[in-house]
Symmetry: none
């Protein structure tokens, strides 16, 4: 690993701290608002809160690994020899990525058998995608990375197909205000998830990802993507739940005034 | 212990991390959904949540032992001399294995005296099975392993007899949707528990279990078995509770509409 300036090292340290705080704060937020959401949609809040808790734990671990990986020598941060390995993020992803897609299904509150089938296929597809990406990440050759990345993109394409095609009619049956939010959540998922394969394939074009400026930029990119994909996503899931409840209350009021 | 490549070492590290995260996530999940389940079945959720909490603690400990057992020398992970002992898993098992069987009894919500008798016999049998397996595990001879393993399989057979024979009529009185889930849970228990005696007896056929590829494969096998037997099992217990409550609500509605 390349040497880092004090500014570079502490920028990454602070970033990890910031992401940890965002994840922990979102966990507390979701815990506190959980009771507001009706039981049939509450599973989505529970799943989203587990996502941010797991991510908080991972960033805590990453923060420690970062501290151990460098030491300050003559005003420059040099590698201690202890590894700071990007591949550790897969542990988080294998748990959180399936939960992110199943949370979206849970908040739609579809009929139980439909909901189970969708959750199983989307969650399974997401776990498969992460598991298939792992061997390419640990392999030392570009070829292995491209092949495993290619195989992993099959479940990714399947997830996008289900979310953007198969789920269409179910989304159209949601209340109008919730529909917009569900579509935004889906786009957020597409945009943030799109970031990870780009980094995955970056070694093809960039020869040395451990060069200080590239390495620092990558960590910042991951941090921002994780905040959007987990905290932002979790808050959107909660907002969908609220919008649906308000729409239902509105409908109940309209029905009551018509029958009076 | 054999040397490990960086890939082998970090695969096991990441696996331990992953199992820890799964256990902790399931604990939080069960804690958050506990209130949804009626009081008479809630004991099952409490027991399942203790199982995953204890397992999370054990994997935390195993993860630390793993870090201390190896150090990186010239790109290869070599033993530091500090032991990484499989037998430490028995601490977890002695607490969690009895709770797994009693949780299944609790979720059935049988009459109190019947429930107590079954829990006592199944929980006691499970504790006895683990306690009897221990001397064979720490012994250095294959003979001792076979003898203690043989004795431990008596309570194991008794547990299977109770679960698959004696419990039959009680399961048949559960609502139809819950019956399927209970049967699946029982099969999950049989399949995952079946994995442990196979590993227990592996030293009979495989001479050196510390050879790197075998050792790594064993750790992965344990990790997957533990996730299925504890996290998967806990979620199934919760699903049985939910299915039973929905069936009861359905029956109450049907009864109400008939009497009106």
């Amino acid at each position: 690993m390349s040497d880092l300036s004090i500014e570079q090292y502490s920028l990454v340290s602070n970033l990890f701290s910031f992401v940890f705080v965002c994840m922990a704060a979102t966990f507390v937020f979701l815990l506190l608002v959980r009771g507001e959401i009706t039981t049939k949609m509450r599973g989505a809040i529970v799943q989203s809160s587990i996502v941010v808790l797991v991510a908080a734990y991972m960033y805590w671990q990453i923060g420690s690994a970062w501290k151990e990986a460098y030491h300050l020598v003559d005003g420059v941060y040099k590698s201690t020899g202890l590894p700071f390995r990007h591949v550790d993020r897969y542990v988080d992803w294998l748990v959180t990525v399936p939960l992110l897609v199943t949370a979206l299904i849970s908040i739609l509150a579809l009929p139980p058998d439909r909901s189970q089938s969708l959750s199983f296929r989307l969650g399974g597809g997401a776990a498969l995608m992460i598991a298939l990406g792992y061997p390419g990440e640990v392999a030392n050759t570009i070829m292995a990375r491209v092949i495993w990345g290619g195989i992993a993109s099959i479940p990714f394409a399947y997830i996008l197909y289900v979310l953007f095609k198969e789920l269409g009619p179910a989304i159209n049956r949601q209340p109008a205000t919730a529909q917009i939010l569900v579509r935004n959540t889906r786009i957020l998922l597409l945009l943030t998830w799109g970031f990870y394969p780009i980094i995955y394939l970056l070694p093809i074009v960039v020869e040395d990802l451990t060069l200080a400026p590239i390495f620092v930029a990558l960590q910042i990119g991951y941090g921002i993507a994780d905040i959007l994909a987990k905290c932002g996503y979790g808050v959107l899931i909660y907002m969908i739940g609220r919008a649906k409840m308000e729409a239902e209350a509105e409908m109940a009021r309209a029905f009551k005034s018509r029958t009076l």
